[in-house]
Symmetry: C2
């Protein structure tokens, strides 16, 4: 039964299929999880009556189930529709700097498993393939799920990725530059492969389940050891011609500043990345310190570390002010390990932003973007890799 | 007959209509002019056979006609389809600094009339409405066209415009800030009103008929007395939360630089706008000089003016390098009066861009954006205002 259902779903999720009303409804469900018929009509542009007829058919063939959703606060639960969780599964895989992480979700957006596999710093494609396959087989076995129900595998990668699936210069994974992700994983996993860089995946996760839910236009800014980011316009993550859109860390703040690894001078990354900030902290401490401890120490009252956070926020806010002048988004999601500092980081970002951007707080109507902390500071990229499959974004063909 | 046809077209172009396959085909034709059935299938996502059936029906009811198109070079003309030019007309109106300009086009994308009406520098909404109505009535009378066939009027405005149609701070039209464009023009023109700022309109014109034809992702950079710009992502012009996306002139190049009218310091506009560049030229000449004469003098060999163009290109290229790091577009269309200088401006833009952006020329695959001069250096905004109606972009409701 589950197999029959997922067979039907596989066909409808295939983007080479004819764009029928049924396929559009299934994709809306796949992309959004539990949604009302009215939301589906809005998303697909189909008439409400057409959506109702299609939903009734899909329920009869068990592809769709009814679920109750409850908004925050009081009020009756509302009726929503979701794909049948038994109809199929998706995998998200993070190719991290020194780990693989695998998240398994069903098509109703439930997270079934989340497994991290530590790896040596310079692991190679061949080893990653073998370890990923083994982890995936274990997960499916442990949860008694059929591998045949797996609709696709999304990869979040610490590197810019070209539309062809080739990893570009700037990869954080040593030895992976030039690797073709589809040629690497498809023969072993035997499933459709999706991929995007980790920041774009993080934006997808925040849009589907997190701080940007309901937003079609926002910017994700990720302050971790490195700086990442993503731009979402009209509900789509922008990739750019060479896959490097959203690389805010390499905006030049001072063209006569220090040399950056990217070949430019005075990049934002040199002022406010975790590597830069923790480097100063470590010189003071004469020992190494991780981001979590750094943030906790600042929050516990260390005025020196507080000043480092303030300076980092000031530099970030100045760069984001330019992003704001160019893109004028309504929302910035601040993510990554440093964002755990909350207002201690957000306040200087907000004030430097207002100081240097075009639209000023007094300009009214849509003038003040919101700055919020991301929901998934820990596993956003892996959640987003699942989202790649559910939203059919970044399919490598 | 023409009236019956345009009645049908009006219904199908109405975005509140149910999104039927027929409406999608008509919109593809309206947005793209003469296109092949294969292109329509690609744009709409409909099956080729569905498209053929719909086109046959539309031809029978005279809404669509067959046209021959010829690609540059040898080869047989290809068969394409276009909306019947008799099926309807669209108007584009530029609310310029000291003129109104009105372009009339039919739904097959033919330009029927292009009229400029000089106005005093500080003309007010009431006067603009009266003059526009009078000019439009004259045009329809002169060309013996029925006003009932007018599908909508697009406005290109030298100001940021909020989604509501309200003109924001930063307007180049004195006294227009806060004006509601729809409330101003709809009661008099009695037609659907569309509006966007002039740079976004220029981008639409270059995308529909000009240097960016066939591109879904590009940046328009306009160097005139002021600096404007627009970002096109996935075929749509980004507007931003407050309507200010693409205001590249106010990117801060030097936070300790001179004060700009926008309230920031060291904006790009202060280094390379026409106002800045011509100001230096005028001090040397001890008389005023226009952009066209300035460009011609530089091209005739004036080394001082050539240096001014080079410096302007260098500043612009440095700013665009940041735009490139953020957005990674495949194409920059350089437009506006200064772009008439051609390579004398483009060469320094290209070299400063390569020097300061993230993706370097040696990075391969999609790494080198093209820099080209716009096709419509004179009337791009007005052509784009027509495009607003044909593409149903910026409808005020």
């Amino acid at each position: 039964m589950a197999n029959m259902i997922s067979g039907g779903l596989r066909g409808l999720l295939d983007e080479r299929q004819v764009d029928t009303p049924v396929a559009r409804v299934v994709r809306a469900l796949s992309g959004h999880g539990a949604v009302s018929a009215a939301q589906i009509a809005r998303t697909t542009g189909l008439a409400r009556s057409t959506v109702s007829t299609i939903l009734a058919d899909l329920k009869r063939s068990s592809l769709v189930v009814e679920v109750e959703t409850r908004s925050p606060g009081i009020g009756r639960p509302a009726l929503a529709h979701s794909l049948n969780p038994e109809a199929g599964t998706c995998l998200g895989v993070l190719l991290g700097r020194n780990e693989l992480r695998v998240v398994l979700a069903d098509v109703a957006h439930n997270i079934v498993a989340d497994v991290a596999i530590p790896l040596e710093r310079d692991y190679k494609p061949e080893r990653a393939t073998r370890m990923a396959k083994q982890a995936i087989d274990n997960i499916y076995k442990e949860h008694s799920l059929p591998y045949s129900g797996l609709l696709g595998v999304g990869f979040a990668v610490s590197a810019p990725i070209a539309a062809s699936g080739r990893i570009m210069r700037g990869s954080q994974l040593p030895g992976w530059q030039g690797v073709d992700l589809r040629a690497t994983f498809e023969p072993v996993l035997q499933k459709p492969i999706f991929a995007d860089n980790e920041s774009n995946c993080a934006a997808l996760a925040e849009m589907m389940w997190g701080a940007a839910a309901g937003f079609e236009n926002f910017v994700l800014f990720k302050l971790d050891l490195g700086i990442g980011g993503a731009i979402v316009a009209n509900g789509k993550v922008l990739t750019g011609a060479a896959g490097t859109a959203g690389e805010f860390g390499h905006m030049v703040l001072d063209p006569r500043g220090d040399l950056c690894t990217c070949g430019n001078r005075g990049c934002m990354e040199l002022s406010c990345s975790g590597t830069a900030v923790l480097g100063i902290a470590e010189r003071r401490l004469s020992r190494s310190i991780g981001m979590a401890e750094f943030v906790k120490t600042a929050q516990a009252g260390d005025v020196g570390f507080q000043r480092l956070l303030e300076d980092a926020g000031e530099a970030a806010g100045r760069g984001l002010a330019t992003v704001g002048t160019i893109l004028n988004p309504g929302l910035f999601v601040i993510s990554g390990g440093m964002a755990a500092a909350g207002e201690m980081l957000l306040a200087p970002i907000r004030s430097a932003y207002a100081r240097h951007t075009l639209v000023k707080p007094g300009d009214g109507e849509g003038a003040n973007p919101a700055f919020v902390t991301g929901r998934f500071l820990d596993n956003d990229n892996c959640m987003g890799a699942v989202g790649l499959v559910l939203r059919h974004h970044g399919r490598l063909t």
